[in-house]
Homo-oligomer: 262 residues x 2
């Protein structure tokens, strides 16, 4: 790993990765974005050169990380390949795109950080699980060494498992966040400050251990408390969508409980 | 507040409250449970006397806190009242029962800690929001002083608001936990260690700030990424309930986004 890395993308994943590698002392050669000013803004922060065309990707870097939107990965890779300058490892950071999206390169891989990066937060990179996959063991080893420079949680995950992981993350995170949003709506309409729920939300997430979350389930559905559920459905009378969600999730909690008993 | 308190109940709420008051130097007179050995186990830890019949509740305490299941509150209160020994403040800890459940007492109130207490965790009591309500201002003041001994987050919340708060907590916490449980099921079936999602779950909960959670929404639904949602629905082919939940919540996320735009 004497050569540095280049990163295609200037969004949240690209930014958090570039900064983490920079902080870990990895040389960053180029930052690519079709929008040159976006590339320049990030490149400046990590001592890299900004480029705005795929054919400008040079061979200075040993690894090119594609932190691009899903649909942009394959077309971008094809353009870099057509230019013929880069002969190192090419890896994308997508949870859903298969390894084969990069099949035009001899040494390709997946470099998927299982975390939600946003402008609003700064997750500890060393705790982020990096899910790696590669076409050959040498590439896998190289990507493993690279990921280990910034994270203590690096593992090999095949494309099929990665697809399930991404789906599971939608439930555990995107849908949880939507639950927070619904509760914020209800509180707002009742004139209650939404921050009152934060300690409870944090506790619910942080108390997860190695036991199955179904065993930590609390609330009226798992208690079979029909009286409280009836009151809740009444309170949701003017929220038809939330009412249906309430019913469906309560039923699912009851089914899950019956399954656990068996 | 020269007199101590008594607590009816020996479950998670009773236990966490009793310990917090004990640690704060509040004298705990009696612990009631219909199961004497349960009462004794908790009483021993907090230097109190154990009783197993409502008529044994003495007047030594100034406040009697009913940390009982919802349906047990009114009958228990009626029995204590019928015995006629206790003439202090009586308050229950329920999120759903109205203040009027204790109308037989002159000085009654609600002492609702908005937190999920379990055997598995130990939430910081000083961060727990205590939602108080009382029939008169003197009682409210007394309960406020008492709650402030163990929490820095004490507020007055009327019965109607408390009902919405409890409903919102079901969405934000019980339903989120069910989302964690679904994701754990999916991972288990794919042979993936469920703990891999913990950093992402914690980040999703801990990054909540004062802005509306809808603005922090990520994932395929809010991006309008139909291709990924199609793949996810295929992966859920053998999980009919989870598939319906996936569709309903994705649609709701899309509607919420459209509402935010307006």
């Amino acid at each position: 790993m004497n050569k540095g890395i280049s990163i295609a993308g200037s969004g949240n994943v690209a930014t958090h990765l570039a900064k983490a590698f920079f902080d870990a002392g990895v040389r960053i050669e180029q930052i690519f974005s079709r929008n040159l000013s976006h590339a320049e803004a990030l490149a400046q922060k990590v001592g890299a050169r900004a480029v705005d065309r795929p054919e400008l990707i040079s061979n200075d870097a040993g690894v090119l990380i594609l932190a691009l939107p899903d649909e942009a990965i394959e077309p971008f890779a094809a353009e870099v390949n057509a230019a013929g300058h880069f002969d190192g490892i090419v890896a994308h950071t997508s949870g859903t795109q298969p390894l084969s999206a990069l099949r035009m390169f001899e040494n390709s891989g997946v470099f998927y950080p299982l975390q939600s990066f946003s402008r609003f937060s700064n997750p500890l990179m060393k705790e982020v699980p990096f899910c790696l996959e590669a076409v050959n063991s040498e590439t896998l080893q190289h990507l493993t060494s690279l990921a280990s420079l910034i994270s203590e949680n690096v593992r090999e995950v095949c494309s099929a498992q990665r697809a399930v992981l991404h789906l599971a993350a939608v439930f555990a995170c995107n849908f949880s966040n939507h639950m927070y949003a619904i509760s914020a709506d209800l509180l707002k309409d009742a004139g209650i400050d939404g921050s009152i729920l934060k300690p409870l939300i944090r506790e619910t997430a942080n108390r997860l251990t190695d036991i199955h979350p179904a065993l930590l389930q609390t609330g009226p559905a798992v208690r079979g408390d029909g009286s409280t559920m009836g009151k809740h459905k009444q309170l949701l009378e003017n929220y038809p969508v939330y009412r249906e969600i309430y019913k469906m999730l309560s039923n699912s909690i009851v089914s899950a409980k019956e399954k656990t008993k068996k």
